[in-house]
Amino acid sequence: MATTSHTASENQSGVKLPVLEREKLILNDRSYNWITERICGVLENRQPFLWWLLFIPSALIAAIGVGGGLFHLVSTGVGVWGNTNRVMWGWPIVNFVFWIGIGHAGTLISAILFLTRQNWRTSINRAAEAMTIFAVMCAGIFPAFHVGRVWFAWFLAPIPNANAIWQNFKSPLLWDVFAVSTYFTVSLIFWFLGMVPDLATIRDRCKPGLRKILYGIFALGWRGGNRQWSHYEMAYLLLAALSTPLVLSVHSVVSFDFATSVVPGWHTTIFPPYFVAGAIFGGFAMVLTIMVPARFIYGLQDLITMKHIDNMAKIILLTGTIVGYAYLMELFVAFYSGAIYEMDAFKFRIAGPYWWAYAAMMSLNVLSPQVFWFKKCRENLWVIMIVAMCVNVGMWYERFVIIVTTLARMWLPGDWKTFSPSPQDQMLFVGTIGMFLALFLLFLRFLPCINIAEVKWTLPQSDPHHEDKEEHPDAGTTSIPAYQKELAEAKP
């Protein structure tokens, strides 16, 4: 834990203030070589039995759910989904918003925490970015097939076609196409460029052969010279600066799909920030869900420390509370507006036939993270895993509540229907979970799951002036008791 090590050099006239030492990001004073060995070991050694135990079922579920499910859907028609009545967005859009939200934590960790110089991000950013890519891949399936005839999905692209009709650039659905495809592309570039030095590390460790050639191709011939690092660092900074507004825009645009419509319960200005906070909230829960087990399986405790997990738990608490505020504010605005349709929409959500979904959303998203106020809960991995799972489920329910309960009660009472998902709906959703896990396990198997170069950079000896700093004249001059005594004496 934090101890005083030296005092601040300013404040010569007054009391010397003890400076708290930062907690170490990498434990046990590991060497550069240890870091290389441990992270490369994850993909160079034989995978543990547990890997196969997880991979085979995930791959099968993905093949049956996504492969089989989509084959059945395309060969029969979208009517096999449950969204055949007025609730036409149904599960596919619920799942789309759910998955796209999961991705946001990855970009937040890699971009926003980079710009704010949060060095603890280095241990988790690679895996979180991989999660972003795979989550967006899962998300993309749903709208692509929800268009009905998937072989016409290319009509979404702004290219001249035989109908001579262009896309409607004033439609949030088209904005979504641009936002999500840009998000995927830029995230992929960010992920790949961040990995180039680490791929070179693996290349240099391989024996000559096919493996070395393949890693060599993707490492692009990286040599690690400062004339490369200099441009590389600039590129990384630029991508972080570009991704920060991008990630905020993506879920804002997704929320425009709802907020720009004239539908009670959707037509609110709070939607963009509320969606973005929810996305980060759900994404961090997913990062914890997959990183806490991976950390154990591969023995990465010195790299992903309790400090990292503690920080993530705090972000979950913060964003969960913002989401809770948004839920309550929605209710307040509905009440305060005096609009009967708006009020009815929320009464229906809370007390209608979907009350259980609303209750699940409220308790899982708003109440469950509140345990993170307590340090004991942030230190107990079981509590963390349970809360993370609660949030994963709760965030899915949030999208269900927003989409299904609203569409089930639109303007015309003749349109009022209830929604129930078909087996094909459920199959495809479970299939995407399998696909996500299978892709993530393949990532652990073939690519460096922690950013080797950046983790080395966070070690204290990586600072070229590290040796100069150790001879600081103030080092260790004041202890806490001495400081308190001095403070007591200084009081008039």
């Binding site: 262009w166 011939g221 690690g224 400062n226 441009h231 590129a235 425009f256 070229p464």
Partner: protein, 185 residues
Amino acid sequence: MSTTRKRVYGYLAEFKSASALYKAAEKIRDAGFRKWDCYSPYPIHGLDGAMGMKRSILPWFVFFGGITGTATAFTLAYSTQVVIYPTVVQAKPVNIFTIPAFFPVMFELTILFSGFTVLFGLLALMKLPRFNHPLFASKQFHRATDDGFFIAIEARDPKFSPNATRDLLSEIGGSNIELVEEEES
């Protein structure tokens, strides 16, 4: 007798830490070398100054890439929505004043084009991909991506001399000094 001729690439010397590399870099910079580089497993902050390098010009590429994206999106939206094929949807007007509705796409394409400019601009500036390099022939250079800190001074530098450069490297703390040669067919 071997028929392959070898060409000298330069000297490669190892340094024991980031600080040693930093101090050595300052001395080589002051000695007036131009064709040389420091190799490290992670980016060392401040080394650009110690090597006398300028700030990367990549942001300029990206600025123009981004502007191209904004212009592309505006042209695409304006020309198709207002000029070529105005489609009236929900009685919304068709004129330049609907431009706020084009902002999301303009923003996204700005980011997309900038992202691609970062990727290709970076590759051009780093002169990558380049799959082979004389330094890869060195027996110790693989450690530059693990835990080694190296300086390589190229033979094509006008200040390079086989003996003096070698002495300079060992004087400033370099060890395992190696003459790297590339094969020439």
